[in-house]
C-alpha cells in the first residue's frame, strides 16, 4: 500500500495528464477515422474549457455537472465548423482548421469577459483522478460501441475509399458530418477536463501545443482502432518523465529518438488491427 502511494506520488500527475490527452486524441481520432485530418479539436476544447471555467466560477458547479454542457457546446461549434469546412479537399480542410486554431487564440485574447484575456482565468474547482478516469472510460465505451455498430463499418469504408463507399449508398458527407459532431463533443469534454486539471486557463492553453500533442498521440498509438489514440496519449505523456528517469542529460533527444523509432518501425502506430490480422494470415499460411 505504501509502495502504491509512493508510485502515485511519482507518476500520478503523468497518469492524470495522460487521461486528459487521451480524450483529446480520441477527438482527433473521431474525424481521422472517416479520413479527415482536422485540428479543430483545439477550438472545441477551448470552447468547452472556457465555458466550464465560467460555469464553475459563476455557479460553483462541480466537474461532473458541467460535462454535459461542455460536450454540447463542443458539438454545436463542430456543427458550424462541419457546415463551413467539410466540403473542402482534405489538405485544405486541415489548413482551414489550423487557421481556426490561430483565430481562436486571437478571439480568446480579445474577449476578456469570457476568457479572462491575457490575465487568464482561474478555475476554482478540481477534477479528481477518479472522475477523469470515469470520463475517459465513458469516452472509450462510446468509441467501442461506434466501432461495433453499423456506423463503424461505414466509417472504415469512407476512410479507405470514399468514392467506392458512395456507390454502396454510404454518404461520405453525412458520415463525416456525424464524425465531426462526435469530435466536437469529445473535444469539449477534453477541454473541460484540462480546465479542471490545470485550474488555470490562458489563451495559450488551447493552442498549437495541444494540437501537436493530440495528433502525435494518435499517430503514435495508431489511428486504425479507438484504443490506439488512448495508448498513444499515455505513451506520449509518459515519455518525457520516463526519459528523465533513464537518461536525464539527454531527455529531449531520447524522447525524439523513441518517437522516430516507433514511427519508422510501426508506421501505422502501436495498435493496428490490420497488421495483427496479416500476421495471423501469414502464420496460418
Amino acid at each position: 500500500m505504501r509502495a502504491l502511494a509512493d508510485l502515485w506520488a511519482a507518476y500520478g500527475v503523468t497518469l492524470v495528464f495522460g487521461a486528459v490527452n487521451a480524450v483529446f486524441a480520441l477527438s482527433a481520432y473521431a474525424v481521422l477515422a472517416v479520413g479527415v485530418l482536422s485540428f479543430a479539436t483545439v477550438v472545441f476544447a477551448g470552447i468547452g474549457g472556457f465555458l466550464s471555467a465560467q460555469l464553475a466560477g459563476a455557479f460553483g458547479w462541480p466537474f461532473l455537472a458541467i460535462l454535459p454542457f461542455a460536450a454540447l457546446a463542443g458539438a454545436l461549434a463542430a456543427a458550424a465548423v462541419a457546415g463551413a469546412f467539410l466540403r473542402l479537399e482534405s489538405h485544405w480542410m486541415a489548413l482551414a482548421s489550423l487557421a481556426l486554431v490561430l483565430i481562436g487564440r486571437v478571439v480568446a485574447l480579445n474577449a476578456p469577459a469570457l476568457t479572462g484575456g491575457v490575465n487568464g482565468l482561474i478555475v476554482p474547482l478540481r477534477a479528481t483522478p477518479w472522475e477523469l478516469a470515469g470520463l475517459l472510460g465513458l469516452c472509450a465505451l462510446a468509441f467501442w460501441r461506434l466501432d461495433g455498430s453499423a456506423y463503424g463499418l461505414a466509417a472504415r469504408a469512407v476512410r479507405e475509399d470514399a468514392a467506392v463507399a458512395s456507390t454502396m449508398g454510404v454518404s461520405p458527407y453525412r458520415l463525416r458530418f456525424a464524425a465531426t459532431l462526435i469530435s466536437g463533443a469529445v473535444g469539449g469534454l477534453g477541454g473541460a477536463a484540462l480546465a479542471f486539471t490545470l485550474q488555470f486557463l490562458s489563451p495559450d492553453t488551447y493552442f498549437i501545443g495541444l494540437a501537436f500533442t493530440m495528433i502525435a498521440s494518435t499517430v503514435l498509438g495508431g489511428a486504425f482502432h479507438w484504443s490506439g489514440p488512448i495508448a498513444g496519449a499515455f505513451v506520449f505523456t509518459a515519455l518525457p518523465a520516463a526519459m528523465q528517469a533513464v537518461v536525464p542529460q539527454f531527455e529531449d533527444v531520447a524522447k525524439g529518438l523513441v518517437l522516430l523509432a516507433i514511427m519508422i518501425y510501426l508506421p501505422r502506430g502501436l495498435i493496428d488491427p490490420r497488421r495483427a490480422a496479416l500476421r495471423r494470415a501469414r502464420a496460418h499460411g
Binding site: R145, L146, G148, S149, A150, Y151, L153, A154, R156, A157, E160, D161, A163, V164, A165, S166, T167, M168, G169, V170, S171, P172, F224, P273, R274, A277, L278, A281
Partner: protein, 265 residues
Amino acid sequence: MAEAALLALERMVKRFGGLAAVDGLDMRVERGAVHGLIGPNGAGKTTVINLISGLLAPTSGAIRVGGEDVAGLAAEAIAARGVARTYQNVRLFPGMTCLEQVMTGGWLRREASLLASFLALPSARRDGRRARERAFALLENVGVAARARDLAETLSYGEQRRVEIARALASEPRLLLLDEPTAGMNAQEAEAIGSLTRSLSAQGLTILMVEHNVGLVTAFCDRCTVMNFGRSLAEGEPRACLDDPAVREAYFGRKRDADRMQTHG
C-alpha cells in the same frame, strides 16, 4: 419495348476539358438481360460505367434507371435507386475481412437505426446477425465462403473479384455494373465469371458488363453495345453486332487483328 428498358442513356455527353470521352451515346439495357459493353481501348466504356454509377456527372444527356432520370445525382443517391457496381482494378477496402466488405455493401438494407445499433438494442443485434448471415450466404453464392473471416487483401485476384461482386450484390440492386470482371483472369476463371453472371441473371438481375473478351460476350451476353470514340456503333444481339461492317472496321481494324479475335470467339 419502352417499358422493358431498365437502363437508357440518351444523348449522353461527358467532356474532360476539350476531350469528349462520351460523345452523344444512346444505349438501352433491357430488364433482365446480360448486356455487354465492348469497344476498343479508350472508347469510353469505363467512363460510361462511372457516369451511370454517379462517380462522374455527365456534361449533358439523360440517364434513365427504371424510367427516372438520375443524371447528376450523387453516387449514394443512385445506389439507393438500385444500381451497384464493381471496378476494373478491384477496389476492396484494405483492412476489412471478406465478410465485413460484403456487410458494408449491405448498408442500404439496414433495418435498425444507427442509434439503435450504437446502443446495441435487441432489434439492432438481430439486424446485425441477419446482415452477417446474408453476407455469408452471398460469399457462398460466389464461392469464397471458406475465406469469409480472412482479410480480403490476402485472397487471390480472382477470389477478390468474387468478393467484390458479392459486395455489390449485398445492396440487392436491380442493375449490376461490372467493369471488366475478367481482366487479368485465365480462361477458366473468366468462364466461371461468365457462368456466375448467367446464374445471377436467372435470379432476375439486370447486368451491364464492360468486357474485352469478345468470346465471353458472345457466349454469355444476351445483347451488347459496341462503342468507339464515345458513341454507339451498334447495339443488339452479340453475333449480329460483331458482323456489323462498321463494327468490323472500327473494332477489329486490320485483318491480322480480326483473325486473332476470331480464334478467341
